[in-house]
Symmetry: D2
Subunit: 205 residues, 4 copies
C-alpha cells in the first residue's frame, strides 16, 4: 500500500516550549493513524514567523514557504486550533490566508495543487466554539481543493464558562475519543482511496 | 420612571405543552427584570403558524402579524433558542426573516421601527454552539435597528458530546447565572436610557 | 457504470408556482450532471409541510418522511438556498434539523446512513452571504456523514446593497458558471468513486 | 458638548505604505464624524508587531500595549477589515484576542473597561463575506463590553468572483454611502449619550 503522509498544523497561540491542549488531542489522532502505518508530523506554527499577506513568499524572513513545502508533500492536512471568544485562533486564520495564496498553483492535470489531499480539524477549548471553528476551517479547506471525508472533526470543550482545559479535564471523554478515532481512520481511508483513484480532471481543470 | 415592556420569543422546536430548557433560562432573566419592575412575556413560537416568506403578512392563516404587533409594542426583545448541530433553531431563522420583512417600516422620525428597542439573546443546548448562535442573532438584530447593549447573551451548554440539558444539569452554573443577571440589567438600563433619550434622527433617517 | 442519483432540495421561501433564482442555478448544475448521465431531481421544500422537531416522523401530517425516503435513495444531495440577512434560509435550517433526526440510523456496515453519499451546495442572493451559508451547510453535511468533495459550492451574489437577482442579472457570470461545472463534475466523480469503493467500516462504525 | 475620540484599527494585511480599500472606506466614515466635531484616528495594525497571546503584554517587543493604551483612551472603536475566503483578516482575529486579554480589567465602578465605549465595523472585499465578518466582530465587541448601536456596519463588496475592489469600483455605491453615514452618526450619538449617561453599575459589576 502507498505511503500516506500526514501533516498536523497546531495553531496554538503558544510556542512549543509550552504545553498545548490542542497538541494533546492531535497526538491522540496521530496514535490512531500510526496503527494504520501512517506517520503524522505535528508543527507548532507559533514557532515560525509567518507573515501576513497574500503572496506565497512575503520575503523579509517569512517562514511560510518552509511550511508550505511540507503542506505540498502531505496527503493529509489536519489543522488544530484552540478557541478564543468562540473563534478559531488568529494563527489559523493566518494559515488559511497563506494556503489561499497558493490557490492558483496547479498540479500536472491542471487542478489546484490541493486536489487529492484530505483535510481534518481538531479543536480544543475550555468552553463553547468548536463547531464554529470547524465550520470555517473545513469549508476553507474544501474551497481550496481539499476533500473533506465524513466525520473529520475531533474536539473537546467543557461546560459553559471558565473551567478546566482538555488535559486538566482528564482526556477521558468517550465522545471525543470516538470522534478522534473516526477522524483518523476516515482521513487515512480517503487519502488511500485518492492515492489509488485520483480525482479525474474532467470539469475541474 | 417609564414602563418598560419585554417580549421573549422562545424558538424551541417544541410547543408549549412540552418543557423547554430555553424557557427555563429565559425565566431566570425574567425574574431579574421583575426586580426592576419590568414585566417580561414569553411566547413559544412553535405554538404559532409562522409562514415562510418576506412579506409582513403572508396570508392563508399566517400568524406572524399577531406576533409582530407584540414586537412593535415591546421595548426589549429577547430571542431564546436551542442549539441543533451547532446552530440556532430553524424557528429563530424564520423569526429573523419575518422581522426583516418589516425593516422598511419607519417611526415618526423616519427611522426603522426597531430604533430605540434593545435586543438580547438566550441560548441553551446540551453542548457547543452558543456563541455561534448568539453572533448571528445579535448581528441580525443590530442590522434591523435594535441596540445591542454590552453582555446581553446568557447561555448554558454542557461538555462536548451527549449529556444533560440545562434543567437536568441543575441550573446552577455560576457563569450562566452571572451572565443572565448582567443581560437582564443591561437590557433594562438601555431600554430606560433610550426611552428618555431616543436616538436622534440625524444621519439615520 | 453504476447509475448515480442526485437529489436537489431547493429551500427557497417560495413554493414552486413562483420563480426561484436558486432553482435557476440548481438547474445549471443539473444540466452538467446530465452530460455525465446523471439525472438530478429538484424538489421545492416550500411545497411540503415539514414540521419542526427532532424525530424522523413528527406525525400530524408531517411530510418530511416522504422527503427523507428520497434522501436515502440518493447518491448526491445538493441543498440550494437563498440568502436573507446574510444567512441561509429557515427552510435550510429545518432540513438540517430533520436530516440530523436520522443521524442515529445505520447502514449494513454499522456506519451512519449518509456514508458514501456526497454533498454540494448552491446559494443565490442579490448580495453578500454565500460563503457563510455554504460553510454552515457543508459543515453540517460532513458532520452527518456525507463526503464533501473539493469545490462543491456554486453561488451568485451581486454587489453590496439592493440590486438584481441571479436571473435578472443575466446568469452570465463566468465565475459562477465555472464553479457550477466544477461542483457538478466533482459530485459525480466522488459519487462514482464511493459506489465502487465504499468507505471501509474500520474505525467509523 | 464633551469631546468624543474615535479610534479606527485597520486590519488590512498590508502596511501603511500600501493603499488600502478598507482605509478608503474608514476615511469616509471619518469625514462624517468630522462634521460632528469628532476626530477619528486610523492606525494600520500591519505597521505594528502585535504578538499572539492572551496576556496584555506578551513582552519581547510586543507593540500591543501601545495600541491598547489608545483603545482605552477612545470612546468609539471601529475595526476595519478586508475579506479573505469569506472571513475577516487574521489581524482582526489577533486584535480580538488581545482585546480579550484585558477583559478582566475594571473601571472605577467595577465594570469591564470597555463599558461606555461604542463599537462599529467596516468591511471591504472584492466579493462576498462582509456580513459574516461583521457578525464576528460586533459580537466579540459586545461580549467584551462595548455597546453596539443600530446600523454600525459599513461595507462594500462586489459581485461574486474576481473583480474590482472598493476604490477601483469608484466608491460610488449609494448603499455603502448611506450605511457609512448611518454608522458614523449612530456611533457619535451613542458615544455622547453614554458620556452623559454612563451605564449604571447595577447588575453588571
Amino acid at each position: 500500500m502507498a505511503t500516506i503522509k500526514c501533516l498536523m498544523l497546531n495553531t496554538s497561540l503558544k510556542p512549543s516550549d509550552e504545553e498545548s491542549n490542542t497538541s494533546a488531542l492531535l497526538q491522540e489522532a496521530a496514535r490512531w493513524m500510526e496503527t494504520e502505518g501512517v506517520q503524522a508530523v505535528e508543527l507548532r506554527i507559533a514557532d515560525y514567523d509567518v507573515h501576513p499577506g497574500i503572496e506565497p513568499d512575503m520575503g523579509n524572513g517569512d517562514e511560510w514557504p518552509e511550511l508550505m513545502a511540507r503542506v505540498k508533500a502531505a496527503d493529509i492536512l489536519v489543522i488544530g486550533t484552540p478557541i478564543w471568544m468562540g473563534e478559531k485562533s488568529s494563527i489559523t486564520t493566518r494559515i488559511m490566508e497563506r494556503l489561499n495564496a497558493s490557490s492558483g498553483e496547479e498540479n500536472e492535470k491542471g487542478q489546484p495543487i490541493y486536489y487529492n489531499k484530505v483535510a481534518g480539524v481538531v479543536v480544543t477549548g475550555n468552553e463553547d466554539g468548536a463547531k464554529h471553528a470547524a465550520q470555517s476551517i473545513l469549508y476553507g479547506m474544501h474551497h481550496l481543493g481539499f476533500t473533506v471525508p465524513p466525520n473529520v472533526e475531533a474536539y473537546w470543550v467543557g461546560e459553559a464558562g471558565p473551567g478546566p482545559s482538555y488535559m486538566e479535564a482528564g482526556r477521558d471523554s468517550e465522545f471525543t475519543k470516538k470522534n478522534t478515532k473516526m477522524m483518523a481512520f476516515n482521513l487515512v481511508h480517503f487519502a488511500r482511496m485518492l492515492k489509488e483513484h485520483p480525482i479525474p480532471a474532467k470539469g475541474n481543470s
